[in-house]
């Protein structure tokens, strides 16, 4: 009897040890693997190319937005406006390529502009966020709340409040195209992730982002151009949100100002947090964010494919985020 108890306690001890020594990113990866194994055995059709492709297609937009969010959070900020920026960019694109006005009616001019301009507009709104934060010292959560609330209104105004449907195969290619069988947005995602990993590690910009997140006053005194870098961060986040918005409307061949990017800000923040980037800033991991995005997406996929209602799904995702944040506390453990 006593030997059993001691065995049990020694096993649980070593497990606690394992949890304590591992990084948050490793823990998220472990959780993702466990979840994938579960799905491999208990979810029909999980291990098929079609399912894999659908999952990758769906996770790509979360990853793209969450990469931008990783830079924002790494600098000690937060961006609640990404979902609304997706809606603005998604509403703007059909406006451009369905335009009958002169040169835009030509597909070869209209479609490239319908991709470039919405992304740049989303970037400009990102600059607006950064401007509010740096110029007036408004806390990021409040500054980006402005567009979180107002941005969808702008998107609605752009589309006259209606769902806009279109049939423009060349535009939809960025959501539906599959060169060599790989969805276009998955290729975009991979490129963005690789560039982001490299930028965070090897560029002055990446170093400045983390220096500001780690100790803004010290960074300023070490000559880091804090104002400029912060604005660049929010522009970057806006550009990526704009791109994600285009992908969503391209997949749907329609743009609904109420639906595009709805709830994306929370998915992105959750992916960043679960992946091991502390919300206090100063440290960031793009790879962790990718794992976090896959994890959150797969939790949702698993629950939905097993017929769990949407409300419960949300609660489970909320619980997963809570666990992740609790584990992130310095010297993880219960007080």
């Amino acid at each position: 009897m006593s030997s059993v108890t001691s065995q049990l306690s020694s096993r649980s001890l070593s497990l606690t040890d394992l949890v304590r020594k591992s990084s948050q990113t490793e823990r998220a990866l472990f959780a993702l693997i466990v979840l994938s194994l579960y799905n491999a055995f208990f979810t029909t059709n999980f291990l098929t190319v079609a399912t894999l492709r659908v999952n990758l297609t769906q996770v790509a937009t979360i990853v793209i937005v969450a990469v931008g969010m990783t830079f924002v959070i790494g600098s000690g900020g937060i961006d609640l406006s990404v979902g609304a920026l997706m809606a603005i960019s998604g509403a703007l694109a059909p406006k451009i390529f369905t335009s009958q006005w002169g040169p835009l009616s030509n597909e070869w001019i209209g479609i490239p502009l319908a991709i470039v301009i919405p992304v740049l507009v989303a970037g400009a709104f990102g600059y607006f966020n950064g401007y509010l934060i740096t110029k007036f010292s408004i806390q990021p959560i409040i500054a980006t709340l402005v567009l979180f609330l107002g941005g969808r209104g702008i998107a609605k105004a752009l589309s006259d409040g209606n769902l806009v449907e279109f049939n423009t195969p060349h535009f939809s290619y960025i959501g539906r195209g599959r060169p060599l069988g790989v969805p276009v947005q998955v290729i975009l995602m991979i490129v963005i992730v690789i560039v982001a990993v490299w930028a965070l590690r090897s560029t002055t910009f990446g170093r400045y982002v983390l220096a500001i997140g780690g100790n803004e006053r010290a960074a300023e005194l070490a000559g880091v151009p804090v104002t400029r870098v912060k604005r660049q961060i929010y522009v970057l986040c806006g550009l990526l949100a704009g791109l994600a918005g285009l992908i969503v409307v391209a997949i749907n061949t329609s743009s609904d100002p109420y639906q595009v990017g709805d709830g994306m800000e929370l998915d992105a923040i959750a992916a960043v947090a679960v992946g091991g980037t502390p919300l206090t800033g100063g440290h960031a991991t793009v790879a962790g964010t990718v794992i976090g995005a896959f994890f959150i997406h797969q939790v949702r996929y698993t629950l939905i494919s097993h017929g769990v209602p949407d409300g419960t799904t949300r609660m489970v995702i909320a619980a997963a985020i809570l666990v992740a944040v609790l584990l992130q506390r310095p010297k993880a453990g219960w007080r």
Partner: protein, 522 residues
């Protein structure tokens, strides 16, 4: 100067007696058998350098901290307040530098908050406003007590805080640096209130770095150093110079001691023309008329008591703050420096006295911290050159013998001395022409201290200029080629090598007696 309190303990007139007070924080003894005796109806000054234990002693008294040893006797009864609220009920009120009142509530509400006069379970507004007016009138202040507190200036807000203390029936009011943000007229109002408190039998503990004020309002003084009570005496019997000497732990007339620091005797010819000068700088709320000049290859000691404006002046030289008045001249032209980034471009570096808040980026590695300021020079098209970066890191870790197991180790894991060396290296790798060092050896062990002294000297020999701010008088005396002394935000004295002496510097810090040499003209 007697070593005993002016009135023996146990006397009828003693209001407060703190004996053998001990307070230990992890790794630090903050109070080491400190004592304090306050008489009824007196204004009692407490002075001491940063870290001497004044604030800790007050926090033990008002219940913000629990003491680890000693006894506190208030009005003949032993007390041990656990919370500031208890202390307030027990008759001790504290008026902090930052006033802890509620800005959007009315003056009357602030005075009576938590004890509003009630009638039928509701607040009796007419009575509350009337009594608030009466209390303020007692201090010769007439104002509309229904207006929100934020309408008042800082001095009047302080009056409200004092009125609140009085309405509590406080026997003792603690004032921590009450005049630090007041102008002269407001100071006069405050002193008037203090006199009235005194007249009504209330005792005041008055903490200030402004020595002139002490003699104006104070009766007795307690001088603290390193957590101990060094001196308790009457203010009439002690000069400002003596106070400063005791605070710093020096005897007047003590000869200059050699070899207590890592500085060797330097005999270098300093180019006579200054390349960077700040003239008649004014900046609210501290600097009033501060001037300083820097020449190539010299170590300039910037001396002064806490609150004299040393750090503020250094920050202005570095572009971290902007002066309200005065001129900055770099290389004979108006200075183009408007930000730290500009200053760095002009070859100036700055090590803050607060390493943790303004120096290190704790999550970042030694390598990343060391190269932070140098990144623009290590970068092509925004991409960091890893080889060049590694070469710099290796060179400076070796040069300054920074003790780290791995340059990828987070800087927060290093000792204070090694962190400081990394921060010095952050600037040295830029090969600056001027380094502004604010308390470069604070919180550092003796060995690392000597190394840093030696390093500063070597750099100056190689032509770099150093502006060194330090509270340790030995560092100033032995390390500097020239010394500029600030007092209350004004440059009051300058000494060149031949004139540098501990007594003269202490005298200038305390009284500014040395006539200001005619060196500043722009």
């Amino acid at each position: 100067m007697s070593e005993h309190p002016p009135t023996p303990p146990g006397s009828q007139d003693v209001l407060l007696e703190m004996r053998d007070i001990v307070k230990v924080f992890p790794g630090v003894v903050a109070l080491d058998h400190a004592r304090l005796t306050v008489m009824k109806g007196e204004v009692h000054a407490i002075v001491g350098q940063n870290g001497a234990g004044k604030s800790t002693l007050m926090k033990v008294l008002n219940g913000a901290y629990r003491k680890d040893g000693g006894t506190i006797v208030l009005d003949g009864r032993e007390v041990d307040f656990i919370t500031p609220h208890q202390a307030q009920v027990g008759g001790i009120s504290t008026i902090y530098q930052e006033i802890n009142l509620v800005p959007f509530r009315s003056v009357a509400e602030n005075i009576f908050m938590g004890r509003e006069p009630r009638r039928f379970g509701l607040i009796d507004w007419p009575r509350m406003n009337r009594e608030a007016r009466e209390i303020l009138a007692h201090f010769g202040i007439q104002l509309d007590v229904k207006q929100p507190l934020l309408n008042l200036n800082v001095a009047l807000q302080q009056m409200v805080a004092i009125a609140r203390a009085v309405s509590f029936g406080s026997k003792l009011v603690i004032m921590d640096e009450p005049t630090s943000s007041l102008d002269e007229r407001e100071v006069a109002t405050l002193f008037d209130a203090i006199h009235r408190l005194k007249a009504s039998g209330v005792s005041v503990i008055y903490i200030s770095h402004r020595l002139d004020e002490l003699h104006e309002v104070g009766d007795n003084i307690t001088i603290m150093r390193d957590g101990q009570t060094i001196e308790e005496t009457s203010l009439a019997s002690v000069s400002k110079l003596e106070i400063v000497a005791r605070m710093l732990g020096k005897n007047i007339g003590e000869l200059r001691r050699e070899g207590t620091t890592g500085f060797a005797e330097r005999k270098v010819d300093i180019e006579s023309a200054p390349f960077y000068r700040a003239a008649h700088i004014e900046a609210e709320p501290v600097l009033r008329d501060a001037s300083v000049e820097l020449r190539k290859g010299e170590i300039l000691g910037l001396s002064g008591l806490l609150g004299s404006g040393r750090t503020e002046l250094a920050r202005i030289l570095f572009g971290a703050d902007k002066p309200d008045q005065g001129s900055l001249t770099l290389d004979g032209k108006p200075s183009p420096i408007a930000s730290p980034r500009d200053a760095i471009r002009e070859g100036i570096g700055y090590c803050s006295e607060d390493r943790k808040a303004e120096g290190i980026i704790p999550e970042m590695s030694v390598r990343e911290n060391l190269t932070l300021a140098a990144l623009p020079t290590l970068t092509k098209n925004g991409i960091i050159d890893p080889n060049e970066q590694q070469a710099i890191v290796d060179r400076f870790v070796a040069l300054l013998s920074i003790k780290t197991s791995d340059v990828e180790q987070p800087i927060s894991q290093l000792s204070g001395g090694n962190q400081q060396k990394v921060l010095l290296a952050r600037w040295l790798c830029l090969n600056p022409r001027l380094l502004l060092l604010d308390e470069p050896t604070r919180g550092i062990d003796v060995g690392a201290k000597a190394e840093i002294h030696h390093l500063i000297e070597t750099l100056a020999d190689e032509g770099m200029s150093v502006l060194m701010i330090t509270s340790e008088i030995e560092e100033i005396v032995e390390g500097s080629n020239r010394v500029t002394v600030l007092r209350d935000g004004q440059t009051v004295a300058e000494f060149d090598r031949a004139q540098i002496g501990q007594d003269a510097i202490i005298a200038a810090m305390a009284e500014g007696s040395d006539p200001m040499p005619d060196t500043v003209e722009v």
